[in-house]
Amino acid sequence: MEQILNLVTENFNFIFLLILMIILGFEVISRVPAVLHTPLMSGANAIHGVVIIGAIIVMGQAESDNYLALILGFLAVILGTLNVVGGFVVTDRMLEMFKKRKKN
């Protein structure tokens, strides 16, 4: 019990953020028209590309003789960027069409 409480105290900020973000995620999405399901999924897909920041940290901390970390880090940065850039561009392309129609 004490161990669990300690864990909670140590990671309080994290748990705080975790709970708030879960609630927020539910709230933000729960009333969305079916038309927007695909673009929304695609937009959310781009947002989790934020994992790229981890890749950048891995890359930036790799010692210059640690080839494995360098190569893996480099690969991770490329993959993460694909997720972010591809995700946002695809979403924009989908949404562009909704806009065009509004003008008519």
Binding site: G25, V35, I47, H48, G54, I56, A62, I78
Partner: protein
Amino acid sequence: MNSGLLSLSYLIGSVSFIIGLKMLSHPDTARKGNLYAAIGMTLAILATIFLYTKDGVGLGNHLWIFGGLIIGSIVGTFAAKKVQMTAMPQMVSLFNGMGGACAAIISIVEFKHLIHTGADITSEPVMTATILLGLVIGTVSFTGSMIAFGKLNGNINDKTLPMQQVVNIGLLILILVMLVGIVTGFISGEPMSMMYILLIISALYGILFVMPIGGADMPVVISLLNSFTGVAAAFGGFLYDNSVMLTGGILVGSAGTVLTVLMCKAMNRSLTNVIVGSFGGNKAGAGPAGVAGNYKEISVTDTAVLMMYSKKVIIVPGYGLAVAQAQHTCHELEKVLDQNGVEVKYAIHPVAGRMPGHMNVLLAEADVSYDKLLDMDEINPEFAHTDVVLVLGANDVVNPAAKTDPASPIYGMPILDVENASHIIVNKRSMKPGYAGIENGLFFQPKTSMLFGDAKDALTKLVAEIKSMA
């Protein structure tokens, strides 16, 4: 100073994700929301490169980092711009897989790093668990997304191993046991090899998890894997104590789960039902009862005549329309009929195409007006006073078995009540069953006529025919 700036950038980034996601859920603000999130992301990335420090040391290897960013940006933009609107769903799946792989690689490097520091991993249980969970979830998301991509792209068919569900559950238990074992030190072994074994099992699980899930359920799977990657990103955020990764990751994990549930609801099925009682998995046991008989064909000319003398026509678009790239021709047909005083509407089933909203996006591309696209609930009562329903490459969403045959795998899914209309014309390339692999009794009803051929070809001829008559 620098760390203050970094925190501020992360705060702005996090807020931009929240606001972006909120704006994405309204048609008017969606595009701006996407842009805001992208700007926030760029800020967070740049701030990390230049301002992040650990123990007073900043990040190096800028050349490598920018090299990776540039390569990724060029390839990503190119792929996203080039892809056909019809191939959007698999593109989303592909990008999702990239994110999962990225999370998995981070975990591999960090696990190696942890071992290298010489620390006994059992003395760092939280850290080890975080790294390994990121590894498992990221890997499952990566291989799962690749299979989903292959399936939507038509490279991979539905396959079910004997005892598939038992194997899957077994693998899942194995993953959990290994996780707990490594973290607690219960499994003694060389940590690196244990990690690689865990990696391989997770990869295998991702493949086998998606493999048996068939066609119509693929959007749900992609949405689910999308939230998995969010969770994997959140584990990365916990690992680096990085607030923007945490916010983005958890937000997508949570929002993705809600979206997944919403999609399941649109099909009137539970998530468990989608995963365990998959369409593809039960195919053998679901022989359609009493679906057979004669169907009748109709010529383009007859179709044109029938439509010209109708008061009201409803078009039901499906994936066949998307494959044939027939959205523009379809809009043309609508215009010609409209000019001749025929009322035309579109009936959009929530899961028509390969993703919810897929048909809306496609028809929007062809400039079809918003108010002509009607949701299932709105349009269903209208079929009864409709003269002609034109089903364009849709199948499962108009299969009456969903209402009448409890043995059918799609039993319980709400469908479009097209059989209430006076005439039903179905355009298909052949009599082959739809994506879920189920025969459709609608095609054999006396009111139904089949107009065989590629949707675009058939529509082009139909438009020409109607124009010549007018």
